[in-house]
């Protein structure tokens, strides 16, 4: 469908329409900037004095999928994990700059990380369903962690999330079975459902398809398109084609000479891939390095 080589021949419009789901209405070159869900200003992450990523500033718009792209080592995952304060567990980690979720200062002194993570969910590279729990228990695990007890709410959320993850039909008759009985792609969708059940406002996805086979990958890419309106998605991917397929905006990061990743360019996907402002972006999307 998309090919970096054919970027110059076709106008961006049809490609955009091909990459979006039918329900959404976007007939413009550039997706309208909706409400801003998260803002990043001068964000940097350092581990024990060594900067891993710096000078990151952009806005994440609601109802969109924003991709973080760039070659390996450019700090994409480090940046992603800063958004839901996963670096808190690492003693030597220091996050500077401002990250806001709506009105909330993510790293503010009054912000509780546990509560934050109920609003910003995460799906990891390798599927990680809890092995001692059944499929149902996995799906509602996040809800239970957050103090939800009412069975009706749990059941409703579980079903909704599993439907959204395109898993409901295969598992609805065996909700008590263990998560390990599912295939790799299904396990990842279970993890997505688990994250969705908590009804977060933002869903972070860290290379969610890199451990999966092509068919499972395609299902999940389709899922991203379907889920965009329910949760805003920020997805890290090292696969340029995937970024083109699923995302509305892209942030391109590159490792600088000081071995720290920095944001080179941010903008609508179509524009970034066809007429980027920075020559380095052009080189990357043309496959000159990766």
């Amino acid at each position: 469908m998309t090919d970096a080589g054919s970027l110059s021949d076709v106008s961006p419009v049809p490609r955009l329409e091909e990459s979006l789901t039918v329900q959404t209405e976007r007939a413009m070159t550039e997706p309208p900037a909706g409400d801003v869900v998260m803002t990043l200003r001068d964000v940097a992450v350092a581990f024990g004095g060594r900067t891993a990523v710096r000078d990151v500033s952009f806005d994440v718009c609601a109802g969109e999928a924003t991709a973080l792209i760039g070659p390996s080592g450019s700090g994409k995952t480090t940046l992603l994990r800063a958004l839901n304060r996963m670096h808190d567990a690492e003693r030597s980690a220091k996050v500077t700059g401002t990250i806001r979720l709506g009105d909330l200062d993510v790293y503010g002194p009054d912000t509780d990380p546990t509560l934050l993570r109920s609003r910003v969910g995460m799906v990891f590279q390798r599927p990680n369903p809890f092995p001692t729990m059944s499929i149902y228990d996995n799906a509602v695990a996040g809800l239970r962690f957050n103090g939800v007890r009412k069975k009706a709410l749990l059941d409703e959320a579980a079903e909704s999330a599993l439907v959204a993850a395109a898993l409901w039909d295969s598992v609805k008759d065996r909700l008590k079975a263990h998560g390990s009985t599912l295939s790799g792609g299904e396990q990842q969708r279970l993890c997505i459902a688990r994250a969705l059940a908590v009804e977060p406002e933002v869903l972070l996805m860290d290379e969610p398809t890199s451990a999966l086979d092509p068919i499972a990958t395609k299902r999940i890419e389709e899922l991203v398109g379907e889920l965009k309106d329910r949760v805003t998605i920020v997805i890290v991917t090292h696969n340029m084609q995937q970024a083109m397929r699923v995302s509305d905006r892209c942030a391109f990061l590159l490792m600088g000479e000081d071995k720290a990743g920095e944001l080179i360019e941010f903008g609508p996907t179509a524009q970034l891939f066809s007429e980027p402002s920075d020559p380095r972006t052009l080189d990357y999307v043309n496959g000159r390095f990766g």
Partner: protein, 302 residues
């Protein structure tokens, strides 16, 4: 959100509100619970560390005064007679441990090598036996030593060494097997490809590579053997006088401590403390030393 979806937005927003309400409401309780639970774990850690500190402190405080020149050079004297020491017990412990080690270590390592190279049902059974044997009540080993040796040959240092060796053997077997299995297969295969015999491979490749683990395991087994009392109580009978000959009854530090501890005579109890400090010091030095050795050798290999 500006776009139109198949599923109406309302249930999701409703659920989101319900979840956030539950999350905020329960947050205080959850965080407090977490802090309390983790605080209890910290408390338990402190509780776990205190006994060793207290033990070392007390034994040193009470045992050090007993350490003088006579303590290390004279044999035991009866109650009330001054100038006694534990030299005969030191000799006894040393001889018994040396004999036990000399038999248990080679035998145990060869067994360990066998198990490292075998995978059949017999090997599994032997491995399981060795594991279980490391934990059986030591008094039963003493009984065995009595039945096997004392009944036939009388109380002796050999009987004690037999019992102590019996306890050390499974520890060395398992330590040895673990060390030998740790040798990378590539080394074995390379040697075989060069045409070397299995025995040569073992001698020149497997044993040297596994040596750190073997030495550590042997030191730990010796430390354990030094501290065993019950097997000795039934086999060596004790001896007031200096005795180097293991075919005769001997004294040993653990048995001396045991019998003196319940005596009503303060000077004997003092001797017991001194012996306890000596025994504890040697065992701790061996244990710590073997750990440091293992760490050092591991760093060397990297």
């Amino acid at each position: 959100m500006t776009s139109v979806l198949e599923v109406p937005v309302d249930p999701i927003v409703e659920r989101r509100r319900a979840v956030q309400a539950a999350a905020t409401a329960s947050l205080g309780r959850r965080k407090l619970g977490s802090r309390v639970a983790l605080g209890v774990c910290w408390l338990f850690l402190v509780i776990a560390v205190i006994p060793l500190v207290a033990l070392v402190f007390y034994v040193t405080a009470k045992g050090l005064p007993a350490w003088n020149a006579e303590f290390f050079t004279h044999s035991t004297t009866p109650e009330g007679v001054p100038g006694g020491g534990v030299w005969n017990a030191i000799v006894g412990t040393a001889v018994i441990t040396v004999v036990a080690t000399a038999v248990a270590v080679p035998l145990g390592l060869l067994c360990g090598l066998f198990l490292a190279e075998s995978d059949g049902r017999t090997a599994d059974a032997l491995r399981f036996t060795a594991d279980v044997m490391t934990g059986i009540p030591s008094i039963t080993v003493g009984i065995f030593g009595y039945i096997a040796i004392v009944r036939n040959f009388g109380y002796s240092g050999f009987a004690g060494a037999f019992a102590v060796g019996f306890i050390m053997l499974p520890v060395i077997i398992r330590a040895g097997e673990t060390a030998f299995r740790g040798v990378p297969r590539s080394l074995n295969e390379a040697a075989m490809a060069l045409g070397a015999r299995r025995a040569t491979i073992a001698r020149k490749v497997v044993v040297p590579t596994a040596l750190p683990g073997v030495i550590t395991g042997a030191l730990l087994a010796i430390a354990r053997g030094l501290g065993e009392t019950a097997p000795l109580l039934l086999t060596i009978f004790g001896n007031q006088y200096l005795q180097w000959n293991p075919t005769k009854p001997m004294a040993a530090l653990p048995t001396l401590i045991y019998s003196y501890s319940s005596q009503p005579y303060a000077d004997l109890v003092q001797v017991a403390w001194g012996a306890a400090l000596l025994l504890m010091a040697v065992v701790l030095v061996l244990s710590i030393g073997s750990r440091l050795l293992a760490a050092y050798l591991r760093k060397e290999r990297r």
